[in-house]
């Protein structure tokens, strides 16, 4: 149905043309899902925008053709193209929060498409809108239609976005990372919905994603993109059983998994080449483990390895598991468990909601509502939960960055809550934080050397300039950055390198505990592997303990010794990684685990689907917080919050189903 041939597009930068997509060809037939897979900066989104002819102002399509059911799109007049957009090709975007207009009701925004493409107005349009909202699984559509986007949660907004996309009854749906901004349980709902709608309507779908798990769940055929080129195209079966291109193999090998515990993850050295400096020959050559001289001379042509499997690579060696010869890296569990080094008891952080002219407190947001944790030296505790459950607040409360309402945080025997001034500053030496977004966590106007030295100077370490310079150089070496990085500004580094800088900054004061707040969620898989390896290496060398705040179970499985699962401000299940991940007892943990898309063919399909989304922490449900979404809720769950029950010496669950 859609046929893209030799599409080339680029961005004009001054007099030069930076080619973002270089001659890619693929086809999508009716009812098929074609997934474009690749790291950021590979030209996936540019391809989608090119198909819609919605490139940014500097973008130009320089060649190739895009045919939709035989009709060429690139030669259409702009007015005719508007007939195609929305009616024949529709698109949904990554960020539901910004893809809806906040000052228009949902109904108006759906109605716009109906008016434009289906000539529906007034009552018939309203009926159609209700039908659409019902189709995308929005309850009570009559009321919802007249509400504004801010009244919807993230997952609901994405459903509305899908409804808008479907309103024009398109033949092709382009989904650009449709679930990246969503939680796993919501992601599962949205993916199910997309798959079901596709089946019902026989739409073609172009799915753009970086997540192999999503690909395994959704795609029929997969195209791997690298640096503006397709390097491997295969159907699902072939792709997951016999990935051939070294890049694809490396992507698989870089995934953290339980089977790789104790091993270093395979990383892809370096990063995607910049548009301005594309290597001649194979573009992956510089990062490839199997690079041959011929790779640097000319770009390989397509070659077919099976009926539905083609790739561009000279190397034809088998899929040797490159992971086998990687060195083992010591794990926290090799260290004998000692008395807890950090002990948190019944920590509560409530934010007052103030209203009115006198700012009276009218309610409390129970962000953290009685959390108890313990971490021993050199071990890793993973704090897992969906967005809004309060896990980041826990991290900040431990560092005393937000005021705790009650509870105690004992670090090495001294109480941190209520500590002031000098003593607090001294205590902070023992604990540091690595933040989620490496682009927001480094001051763009300070040089890297200054950023790293900041902690040392604030805490009065290494007061003399020369020793501080040496310390900065040593830290840079430790996190794998060159010496000269100290004199450069953060914007000159890639995401992964920036995260290394952030880690070096935290390590500068030699903390015993590092709080890592989703340190890899903004990074590509191959870079994530580099950072995880680095964190493991540092733990081995320095014996630093980690509190790893994350929503990514693969990372947890790979890295953590202990796991605590958090839901709406409270920990619902705690135990060693083995116990919690292999035999989860709490229905929430079970649902979370089953919702994670697994990048394998044999992924269990019978997942537990949670209805709805996390309630607001300002107004948590009575009784067990989880009961409105729990498939096994009982009467008692609605009345009282369950006490914690011990399953084993280390494993505790807060649920009436246990014990």
């Amino acid at each position: 149905m859609l046929e893209v041939t030799k599409l080339r597009l680029g961005f004009a930068a001054g007099k030069k043309m930076l080619v973002a997509v270089d001659g890619i060809s693929f086809a999508i037939s009716k009812g098929e899902t074609f997934a474009l897979l690749g790291e950021s900066g590979c030209g996936k989104s540019a391809t989608a925008q090119g198909i819609m002819r919605l490139l940014p102002a500097a973008g130009r399509i320089t060649g190739g053709s895009i045919k939709l059911e035989g009709g060429e799109l690139l030669t259409l007049a702009e007015a005719d193209m508007r007939q195609v957009r929305g009616a024949r090709i529709a698109m949904i975007f990554q960020e539901p929060a910004t893809s809806l207009n906040p000052v228009l009701t949902v109904g108006v925004q759906i109605g716009e498409v109906l008016d434009r493409h289906c000539d529906l107005r007034g009552e018939p349009a309203r009926q159609r809108m209700l039908e659409l909202l019902r189709q995308v699984g929005i309850a009570d559509p009559e009321r919802r239609l007249d509400e504004y986007p801010f009244q919807f949660s993230g997952g609901m907004k994405q459903r509305v976005m899908i409804a808008i996309a479907l309103a024009g009854e398109p033949d092709l749906l382009i989904a650009d990372e449709p679930t990246t901004a969503l939680d796993v349980t919501v992601q599962a709902q949205i993916l199910d919905l997309l798959a079901q709608l596709q089946r019902e309507r026989g739409m073609g779908m172009l799915l753009i994603t970086h997540d192999l798990g999503v690909v395994a769940k959704m795609a029929h055929r997969i195209g791997v993109m690298y640096a503006g080129e397709l390097v491997e195209v295969a159907d699902r079966e072939e792709f997951f059983t016999r990935p051939q291109h070294p890049y694809t193999q490396a992507l698989f090998a870089a995934l953290p998994e339980v089977s790789r515990r104790g091993m270093a993850l395979t990383t892809i050295p370096g990063q995607v080449p910049s548009l301005a400096a594309m290597p001649a020959g194979c573009r992956f050559a510089d990062r490839c483990a199997h690079v041959m001289p011929v790779c640097r001379e000319s770009a390989p042509d397509w070659r077919s390895v099976a009926a539905s499997h083609a790739l561009r690579c000279y190397w034809s060696g088998g899929a040797t598991a490159t992971a086998d010869n990687t060195p083992r890296i010591g794990l926290g569990h090799l260290i004998p468990e000692m008395a807890p080094f950090l002990d948190v008891v019944d920590l509560k952080v409530h934010f007052p909601i103030r209203r009115g002219i006198l700012q009276r407190t009218v309610g409390q947001v129970l962000a953290v509502d009685g959390v108890s944790l313990a971490i021993s030296a050199g071990r890793t505790l993973a704090l897992v939960g969906e967005s809004g459950c309060g896990k980041t607040t826990v991290g900040k409360a431990l560092l005393q960055l937000v005021n705790t309402t009650s509870g105690s945080v004992r670090l090495g025997g001294s109480e941190l809550v209520g500590m002031q001034g000098k003593r607090l500053r001294a205590a902070r030496r023992h604990m540091q934080m690595v933040f989620q977004d490496p682009f927001a966590s480094l001051n763009p106007r300070l040089r890297v050397g200054e950023i790293i030295a900041e902690g040392m100077s604030a805490l009065g370490l290494e007061s003399d300039g020369a020793t501080r310079g040496r310390a900065v150089a040593a830290l840079l070496k430790q996190v794998g950055l060159p010496d000269e990085a100290a004199g450069r500004y953060p914007h000159e580094f890639s995401g992964g390198q920036r995260q290394r800088i952030a880690i070096a900054r935290a390590l500068a004061v030699q903390p015993e505990l590092l709080i890592c707040d989703e340190p890899t969620s903004a990074l590509d898989v191959s870079v994530q592997a580099q950072i995880l390896n680095l964190l493991k290496k540092l733990q081995e060398e320095l014996g630093v303990a980690y509190l790893f705040i994350t929503h990514n179970f693969a990372v947890v499985e790979y890295l953590a010794n202990d796991v605590a699962v958090m839901y709406l401000g409270r920990i619902v299940e705690r135990g060693s990684a083995q116990e919690v991940l292999r035999s989860p007892k709490h229905p929430y943990t079970q649902a979370l685990l089953s919702a994670v898309p697994v990048p394998r063919l044999d992924a269990p399909s019978a997942a537990i689907r949670l209805p709805g989304e996390t309630p607001s922490p300002a107004n948590p449900p009575a009784g067990c917080h989880f009961h409105p979404r729990c498939p096994q809720a009982m009467d008692v769950c609605r009345q009282r919050y369950p006490e914690s029950t011990g399953v084993s010496a280390t494993h505790t669950v807060n649920c009436y189903l246990v014990g």
Partner: protein, 469 residues
């Protein structure tokens, strides 16, 4: 040799202090490699350097006008020296022909006769109503009044050629300097490198601007010796002279007001945004209240009060210039105190956004003190807003002065400023035939000044943004 007494007005002191501070900052920059690199980027920016050249010309005029003195009066030897009541500046001396050759009233640019008919007494006792000849404008022409265009054009052409020659000499000197500067590229002479823009400093832009300026300014001043090139105003003063004098007033109002307003706006804005709580409430209340009082009213009240103070203490001032100067400074302070709210509000909002960023939290986690966070992390990330707002305000302030002069609460009536020029021109716009030249001259000069400041500020902002470099 005539004796003189140096007079240091308060505003002179401020201006020269600013110059000293500028030199101090320059020395500091030269010693700090990253700052030096940033300023080098400014130097490489063609538009930035062209506008800097224009700005420097304006500043030079302003500085020449800020060296004041009083001439010694002729007295008997042995008597205590007494000095003229009139305070002159170096610019006044340099522009003496312009200053002294006053006509009776309005005359058009390049006119040889007045703009108004008068009754002229003829030798025979008869009278004639006609446009009388100017005392100074085009006097050298004698009876050949009709040849103004030819004469002026010819002179302009000859002087223009002279200016071009001077510029060529300058350009050769510069290119010799550039050519000697580095010995790596033998194939290209300094001249070629400048032409192709291959050197680190945007010499081509500077030279081009300089050339243009010389081509316009030199003939203009040459002709100003023979004609009133911009015409004369109601009391017959040369408009070109007024324009030159207005530059200093404009610069002082722009700079001093900014100096008053900037610390307040930046400090209060950041404090309100960063510390939140009751401090934020208080600062917000202050600027909301201040904003809701009509600005002109507030300024009028303050200026009138100050006028009373000045009038009741004549013993404070030995000359009229000192009185006018104090009034100018007071006006700057009042304008500064009433105009900080906009920038403050802007900075508060931006700080609210910045304080939630993770690098601020990282600094907090290290126990970095609040003031250090403000200085190291927040202030540098606000500078782009400050720079833009400053330049915007600069033009706004020069205009505000014009408006206030109109209401009668601006600078002292004896002080020449763009405001007083526009104000007096306003009266004549309704007249038929219209007197347009005062307004046009003030407008053009202000336009060039503000445009140059804008473009230069843009270049500075871009150079100091590490992401754009």
């Amino acid at each position: 040799m005539m004796g003189f007494q140096v007079v240091v007005l308060w505003s002179d002191m401020l201006i020269w202090l600013l110059v000293a501070a500028g030199i101090g900052v320059g020395v500091l920059v030269a010693k700090t490699p990253p700052l030096l690199a940033a300023w080098r980027r400014v130097g490489a920016n063609r538009v930035g350097m062209a506008s800097a050249t224009v700005l420097l010309a304006f500043i030079a005029i302003g500085l020449l006008d800020s060296l004041h003195f009083r001439l010694q009066l002729d007295g008997k030897p042995g008597q205590k020296a007494s000095y003229a009541i009139e305070v002159l500046s170096v610019l006044d001396v340099l522009a003496a022909p312009l200053r002294l050759r006053n006509e009776k009233t309005y005359s058009e640019p390049f006119a040889t006769r007045l703009y108004a008919k008068e009754t002229i007494d003829l030798p025979g006792g008869e009278t004639l109503r006609d446009y009388p000849r100017l005392k100074h404008g085009g006097r050298h022409l004698g009876e050949r009044e009709g040849e103004v265009a030819a004469d002026a054009g010819m002179t302009a052409f000859r002087v223009g050629v002279l200016a071009l020659l001077g510029w060529l000499a300058l350009a050769t000197a510069v290119s010799a300097l550039v050519g000697r500067g580095d010995t790596v590229a033998v194939d290209a002479s300094g001249w070629q490198k400048i032409w192709r823009g291959e050197n680190a400093f945007a010499w081509n832009a500077v030279l081009l601007t300089l050339g243009l300026m010389l081509l316009i300014v030199v003939p203009l001043f040459w002709l100003a010796g023979q004609y009133h090139v911009f015409g004369t105003d109601k009391v017959g003063q040369d408009v070109l002279y007024q324009v030159l004098k207005s530059v200093r007033t404009g610069l002082i109002i722009g700079l001093v007001t900014t100096l008053v307003m900037l610390p307040m706006a930046v400090l209060l804005g950041i404090v309100a945004g960063y510390f939140r709580g009751w401090i934020d409430d208080m600062i917000q209340y202050i600027y909301t209240v201040l904003n809701s009082i009509p600005g002109v009213l507030l300024i009028a009240a303050a200026v009138l009060m100050m006028q009373v103070v000045i009038d009741t203490h004549p013993q404070w001032f030995s000359t009229a210039a000192e009185r006018a100067d104090l009034r100018l400074l007071a006006l700057c302070f009042i304008l500064g105190i009433t105009s900080w709210t906009g920038l403050c509000r802007l900075l508060r909002g931006e700080t609210l956004k910045l304080r939630e960023l993770e690098y601020i939290q990282a600094a907090q986690a290290f126990g970095v003190s609040s003031w250090r966070i403000v200085v190291r992390h927040i202030l540098p990330n606000l500078m782009h807003i400050v720079i833009i707002a400053l330049v915007m305000d600069f033009s706004g302030l020069v205009l505000a002065e014009a408006v206030l002069s109109y209401v009668g609460i601006g600078v002292d009536p004896t002080m020449i400023s763009f405001g007083t020029m526009i104000n007096s021109a306003r009266m004549e716009l309704g007249r038929e035939p219209v007197v347009w030249w005062s307004l046009a001259a003030a407008f053009t000069t202000m336009f060039i000044l503000v445009l140059a400041a804008n473009l230069f500020a843009d270049a500075v902002r871009d150079a100091f943004d590490p992401r754009a470099a």
